[in-house]
Symmetry: C2
């Protein structure tokens, strides 16, 4: 029994993304001419121990993960994040 949450950390609009830009250049040089842009992002898949037996605590878990983002995972100056529960099941 576990809950899996995907946290995607991406750069805010307007923040330079050299990794994405260089990936785009490399892809273009390799012959993928249709690539117009690449954005790099980081994803953490977090496995959380559920407290309740059923799937009713999804909202609580989302709030907890948001706190993780604020405290550790994301830098509010340059990052924005998306939280998505990908698996919430009993085994």
């Amino acid at each position: 029994m576990s809950i899996e949450v995907d946290v995607t950390i991406k750069l805010k609009h307007g923040v330079a993304d050299p990794e994405g830009e260089n990936t785009k250049k490399a892809l273009n040089l390799l012959g993928f001419k249709r690539v117009r842009g690449v954005k790099s992002m980081k994803t953490f898949r977090i496995e959380i121990e559920p407290e309740k037996a059923d799937g009713e605590e999804e909202e609580e878990v989302k709030k907890e993960v948001e706190e993780m983002c604020r405290k550790l995972l994301a830098n509010p100056v340059i990052h924005e994040y998306e939280i998505q529960v990908v698996k919430s099941e009993r085994r």
Copy 2:
């Protein structure tokens, strides 16, 4: 008009993920005791210029992006990847 594809590059099962492990430890130390595990992944959002007017080329685009993974984005020794078309629309 553009097609956006998300490529998620993750480590194969059994490959050490020190970034994920250390993130887990840090979260536990910060008081998030319910975190059982963290896996780190990389995502590239690739914007591709469509060749056809409608959305019928999704399969073609997926194949092209798979080639990008093989040639540049992923290391087949340690990585596996997922390709997902996130947006395919006319503007």
